[in-house]
């Protein structure tokens, strides 16, 4: 069930949450809507679900225009950031809710619920109440509940946002495995680019109600359309009109026509990578990412003068985001 959104617009009072947004989500894919708070990603997701109405534009699921359909009829599974567990029902009753209102008979409901609890690894907890579960367990229950009615589409709104870092990472992997097994068209919303790049096949980067760029993680990283996308999916230094990734910043001890002079301000060891912060002659602050080996070889110290040479830069013609693809400056031909 592919999903298409055409020209979606939505405003809340004075605030334009979605501004002519169009996206294509291929059937069976796992897509991330990525962006900062207020970018409209949750609004878009909820509009696809039918939990928000659109002022303009339409939503098509599997080719059918569902814009006028209420959420009940869209057959979407929705998972909320704060679980939205039915706190007055047991885990079993939660997961079986959708089936119960579809008047499945008791035995079938029991079978399916247990099947799903097995899938999400919550078997044995069927009689507990949500208040007795951990956050991660509650979210897995919410997922099972959404999957129980075999939705065409699975929508997750910052599903791991309320969880601890470790649990988040575990569930992230688990979601990917689940998708590989079930192949339901899935869209999830996140503000965490690492999470998006780890899990999703396709990313849609949004900002201020507009789509900045969509593509695979690689495409977005290597060929960002504008400064916003570039700085959102990874770390970025700004050198005048150019943008350089810290790992594309070479540090050498001798100047030449391509280098800029900088003074080492601070050397921070962040696990396997070393971050060296420089201040340039014009006051700009740049940092370069080096390996431990490189650092040792260069024997850098705080206060030392060294020379920075970008291996690869991007520039975006000084125009605002959402413009054409930026030009990238390849390494100087030798």
């Amino acid at each position: 069930m592919g999903i298409t959104v055409e020209g979606a617009s939505k405003r809340f009072g004075d605030f334009q949450a979605l501004n002519d947004v169009s996206i294509e989500v291929p059937n069976g894919s796992l897509t991330a809507l990525l962006g900062p708070s207020g970018s409209g990603k949750s609004t878009l997701l909820r509009a696809i679900a039918g939990l928000e109405s659109l002022d303009g534009g339409r939503v098509l699921i599997d080719g059918e225009d569902v814009s006028a359909k209420p959420v009940q009829k869209r057959e979407v599974g929705f998972v909320f950031q704060h679980y939205a567990a039915f706190k007055h029902m047991t885990v079993f009753e939660n997961v079986g809710f959708g089936l119960k209102i579809r008047k499945w008979d008791k035995a079938k409901v029991a079978d399916r619920v247990h099947e799903l609890l097995q899938l999400v690894q919550l078997n044995g907890l069927a009689d507990r109440y949500p208040s007795q579960l951990s956050g991660g367990q509650r979210q897995r229950m919410a997922l099972a509940r959404a999957l129980a009615v075999e939705p065409q589409v699975l929508l997750l709104d910052e599903p791991f946002g309320a969880l601890d870092a470790k649990v988040r990472k575990d569930l992230r992997t688990w979601l990917r495995h689940l998708h590989e097994e079930m192949h339901v068209t899935t869209i999830f919303v996140t503000h965490d680019q690492e999470e998006a790049m780890d899990v999703a096949g396709q990313l849609v980067v949004m900002n201020e109600g507009r789509v900045e760029q969509s593509g695979t993680a690689d495409e977005l990283y290597e060929n960002p359309a504008n400064e916003f996308v570039m700085s959102f999916v990874g770390e970025v230094n700004r050198l005048g009109e150019d943008y350089v990734r810290p790992h594309d910043m070479e540090v050498v001890l001798e100047a030449d026509e391509r280098t800029q002079e900088g003074m080492v301000q601070r050397i921070v060891a962040l696990g396997f990578e070393i971050r060296v912060e420089f201040v340039l002659a014009d006051g700009a602050e740049i940092w370069a990412q080096l390996t431990r080996l490189e650092l040792q070889r260069l024997e850098l110290r705080e206060g030392q003068i060294a020379y920075l040479r970008p291996i690869q830069t991007k520039s975006f013609n000084g125009s605002s985001p959402s413009s054409d693809h930026g030009a990238s400056t390849p390494p100087v031909a030798l």
């Binding site: 039918g50 939990l51 109405s53 209420p70 959420v71």
Partner: protein
């Protein structure tokens, strides 16, 4: 999630709910104002400013002036006790405080009557000491206090719980003693909750009828509060008096509602 049927049901609910309110609460109230001033401002005004009317007003205000401060001090102290001290008796205190909510005012009046009456437990001894409780002001005050005990406590407790003890702890690290901490830190942070409780207490004391009617004997010009004045005027077929006093009480009630609203917002802020 909007659809034709949901907006139909929305309007259905509105008609039902708001219609009920209009019929039960608003219409009678509006009619009262209309009926009172039907023949002009003079009749009700004269009735209220008659000696008996003025006395009733003064007596009602006297009840407020005594009962409210007492119950406020008690209420804040009790709230402090309940929230900041763990004690086995707290549950009992809490239950006793809730009693006035649920007991009939007539039962309250009767119990006071039995306690302080000539054949009661304390009656004879107090009479010997020359203290008259029943059929005079002290009894009415006791009744007023009884019925309005819960309000300040109940409104202060949640606020006390919410503000927590961190600010107070900070104050003590800066050298404040218990009284200073209370006066400068605790009290200001709970003031809107307390104020709200005070308003409720006042309204309750002003409006008290059943208990006071038993305890006071309702002697015009002597032990008759405004609500009792209303009853007597009604019984004596004096509509101007009954309506006049009722309108006055209704206006006081509406001011109470206004105050409640304003304070509620300050409390939530």
């Amino acid at each position: 999630m909007r659809s034709a049927s949901s907006s139909r049901s929305r309007w259905g609910l509105r008609t039902l709910g708001l219609g009920y309110l209009a019929l039960l609460l608003l219409a009678p109230l509006v009619l009262l104002f209309y009926k009172t001033f039907e023949h002009g401002l003079a009749p009700p005004l004269d009735a209220i400013t008659s000696p008996d009317g003025l006395h009733a007003l003064k007596l009602s205000l006297l009840m407020v002036a005594i009962a409210v401060p007492l119950n406020t001090i008690f209420g804040v102290g009790c709230a402090l006790l309940l929230v900041r001290h763990r004690w086995k008796g707290n549950a009992v205190i809490d239950s006793v405080i809730n009693l006035p909510f649920a007991i009939s005012p007539v039962v309250i009046g009767l119990s006071l009557f039995l306690l302080y009456g000539t054949k009661g437990w304390l009656g004879p001894d107090l009479a010997e000491a020359g203290i008259e409780i029943l059929f005079s002001v002290p009894g009415m005050v006791l009744a007023s206090i009884f019925v309005s005990v819960p309000f300040v406590v109940r409104e202060t407790v949640p606020v006390l719980q919410e503000i927590g003890t961190e600010q107070e702890q900070a104050a003590t690290t800066l050298g404040a003693n218990a009284w200073q901490t209370f006066w400068r830190i605790t009290l200001p942070s709970i003031r809107w909750g307390v104020a709200y409780g005070v308003v409720l207490t006042t309204a309750r004391v002003l409006g008290e009828f059943g208990a006071v009617s038993i305890v006071s004997g309702s002697r015009s010009g002597e032990t008759e509060t405004l609500p009792l004045f209303v009853q007597k005027a009604f019984d004596n077929f004096e509509p101007a008096g009954a309506y006049g006093a009722s309108v006055l009480l209704a206006l006081l009630a509406l001011s109470t509602l206004l105050a409640m609203n304003v304070l509620k917002r300050k409390e939530d802020a």
